[in-house]
């Protein structure tokens, strides 16, 4: 091949490569400008939705009341994240604004150095009040409707102005937070943080998922522990009772209380001990007989599950990884009583539609 032909050929290769890079840059910048659901959401008493959207690194809390377009309620400061929104009134949402989980790898994180504020915003005018200004990492908020107060789950949470110096072994705790900002610790947990917090309607019992070695954790026991559902009386800390099957070693990773709490829906592994990839599904569970009922056949791992007030729709988030290993979240709901099965709530598209129409 002569030199001219070679130069032509490699110029074309360079040109095509340049075109591919340009196309990539255009798609990347378009994607950055697109609203992205962070996986954090809340469900109101009449199926209102509050969810957190990230755009160009900025978190915004949106509320979707009825059939209207979603409207922004609160925009976080840059570098701050909005977590754990929860409806604390018909048109009031309380949430955590935090600097996020420490960036260090597990085992080296200094949670006392991050900040987490609890704030309340009203949907109509976006008026915001700060209920709590704390150090540490707040992972979950739960609204106790009966007593109009919040249950807070936090790691190394403190209201001290100066943080403790140096590495502190992981410890989480549950607190009661009143509307005027008073904090009262209920109970702490070494090495673990309880998950899927639920509260009964009267506000007396808390339910949560914990590994069964939570009372005496050792490095060895952590490998053998099984995640189970526990019930705790808020007024009686000693009474932490297993709710799920005690003789089972199959972990439970998500659950919701149904009705008065005698029935539950929990997520577990269907092919435990059979080898291969775990197959997750959500199944009914009767507390009185301690027996599992029918599967819902979601057939996938879900997170952040919530049942609506009527007990007809189970809402949950599915997480998947894109090719560049960034996570993407989708909000779904599943008809637990009827035939409609699963449907995806295209909240990102609804926000774009809302913005286009306004």
């Amino acid at each position: 091949m002569n030199k001219k032909a070679l130069i032509l050929l490699f110029s074309m290769i360079a040109l095509v490569t340049g075109g591919l890079v340009t196309a990539g840059l255009i798609v990347t910048s378009e994607e950055e400008a697109r609203p992205v659901f962070t996986g954090e959401y809340s469900l109101g008493p009449n199926d209102e939705l509050a969810y957190v959207i990230e755009r160009k690194g900025v978190h915004t809390l949106f509320a979707q009341m009825g059939d209207g377009h979603p409207a922004p309620v609160y925009q976080a400061e840059e570098e701050w994240e909005i977590h754990a929104p929860v409806f604390t009134g018909e048109t009031e949402i309380t949430f955590v604004e935090t600097t996020g989980e420490p960036k260090e790898p597990p085992g080296k994180q200094e949670f006392q150095l991050v900040h987490s504020d609890v704030k309340t915003a009203t949907v109509e005018n976006g008026e915001t009040t700060t209920v709590l200004d704390a150090r540490g990492y707040i992972t979950e908020l739960l609204y106790d409707d009966a007593k109009d107060r919040l249950i807070v789950n936090g790691v190394h949470m403190s209201t001290e102005k100066k943080p403790e110096v140096g590495f502190i072994p992981y410890e989480s705790a549950l607190y009661i937070l009143s509307r005027d900002g008073d904090v009262e610790k209920i109970r702490s947990f070494d090495a673990y943080s309880p998950g899927s917090l639920q509260i009964t309607k009267e506000g007396e019992h808390l339910f949560m998922i914990l590994p069964d070695d939570f009372e005496e954790v050792t490095p060895e026991s952590m490998f053998e522990a099984t995640e189970r559902i526990y019930e705790m009386k808020i007024d009686d800390l000693s009474a932490l009772q297993v709710v799920s099957k005690e003789d089972s070693d199959i972990p439970i990773s998500e659950f919701v209380l149904v009705g008065d709490g005698t029935q539950m829906l929990y997520q577990t592994i269907m092919n435990w001990g059979e080898g291969g990839t775990y197959l997750y599904d959500t199944v009914w569970f009767d507390r009185s007989t301690k027996k599992e009922g029918k599967r819902l056949h979601i057939n996938e791992a879900v997170m952040n599950a919530k049942l609506n007030e009527e007990g007809s729709w189970l809402y949950y988030v599915k997480m998947s990884q894109k090719a560049d290993q960034t996570r993407q979240y989708g909000l779904y709901r599943f008809d637990v009583t009827g035939e409609k099965k699963e449907e995806k709530l295209n909240i990102e598209e609804r926000i774009q539609e809302g913005e286009a129409s306004s």
Binding site: M1, L6, I13, G24, V27, E31, Q321, K322, A323, Q325
Partner: protein, 293 residues
């Protein structure tokens, strides 16, 4: 007299591994070189017969022979073009598949294009390099390492498409075959070719099957919290192995048997890549993490 020169050059060309379609070009090039040398001798006043004889001798003696051997093309040009062509389709296809399907631009994948281009360049532009065998071997090595490295960076980019596995596996296999063919090709009259082939075969095979897994294992160890200093155990044997390999190649020209014997050192050197694990197995103290527990 010219007939004598033509016979001489034809014999030399026949000794090389040059493909049929390129023999004419090489034949004419070398014939001209011999004639130029003969013209010089004629100018010096030698007779045509002496000048022809001396020219042929000089052509051989002056190291042209070595250059000629270096020009030997061990693999067919078409194969290299095929490898590069499939590579371009694979890389661009994968990039666009992810870009359109997931709206994610995997820019790192485009670095494969550098590897494909180098292979394509060496396939199409031949007169450029004196040591083309070495350059082609390095290009093929670079190409396959880029392919494997890029596939490993973002495993999700594989997609779940069986075509990806067929394309990727086929290309790596084809690339490795071409690499072996390039490195193991020697002129028929080379006395040391068997020893040198053994040398390359052992070094490349052991290098690939110990080096690439070692990269992944060390990377995992660091990702799971081991200090970066652990890479000391990777780079020292790796550099040692590369230096040893170069020394063996140089040694093999004169002392082929000694070079082959020194392969025992190669095994030890590459084994050292796995020293932290071997030390752990034999419960030896080496000073890092869990290995001495």
């Amino acid at each position: 007299m010219d007939h004598k020169v033509e016979e001489f050059v034809k014999k030399l060309v026949d000794e090389t591994d040059v493909q049929k379609e390129e023999r004419d070009g090489l034949y004419n090039k070398w014939l001209n070189q011999v004639y130029r040398i003969r013209d010089e001798y004629l100018k010096q006043g030698k007779s045509l017969e002496d000048a022809t004889h001396d020219a042929m001798e000089t052509f051989e003696k002056e190291g042209k022979r070595r250059e000629r051997l270096a020009q030997a093309i061990p693999v067919r040009k078409e194969w290299l073009v095929l490898l590069a062509g499939v590579g371009f389709l694979f890389t661009i296809g994968q990039y666009l598949y992810v870009l359109i399907g997931e709206k994610v631009a995997l820019f790192h994948l485009l670095s494969n294009i550098v590897g494909h281009s180098v292979v394509l360049f060496l396939a199409l532009y031949r007169p450029f390099l004196r040591q083309r065998k070495i350059w082609l071997s390095l290009a093929l090595l670079f190409h396959v390492l880029l392919l494997i490295g890029n596939a490993a960076v973002h495993p999700a980019a594989r997609g779940d498409h069986p075509l990806w596995f067929i394309g990727f596996g086929g290309m790596v296999l084809f690339n490795v075959i071409l690499l072996y063919r390039t490195v193991l090709a020697y002129p028929k009259d080379s006395r040391t070719k068997t020893h040198r082939r053994i040398l390359h075969l052992v070094n490349i095979t052991l290098g690939l099957i110990t080096g690439i897994p070692a990269v992944f294992v060390y990377w995992f160890m660091i990702a799971f919290g081991m200090p970066a200093q652990i890479l000391f155990y990777f780079f020292v044997p790796l550099i040692g192995w590369i230096l040893l390999y170069i020394a063996q190649v140089l040694l093999a020209r004169r002392y082929p048997k000694a070079a082959v014997s020194s392969l025992a050192l190669t095994v030890i050197m590459l084994g050292l890549l796995w020293w932290p694990w071997l030390a752990g197995y034999f419960q030896l103290e080496i000073g890092f993490g869990p290995f001495h527990e």
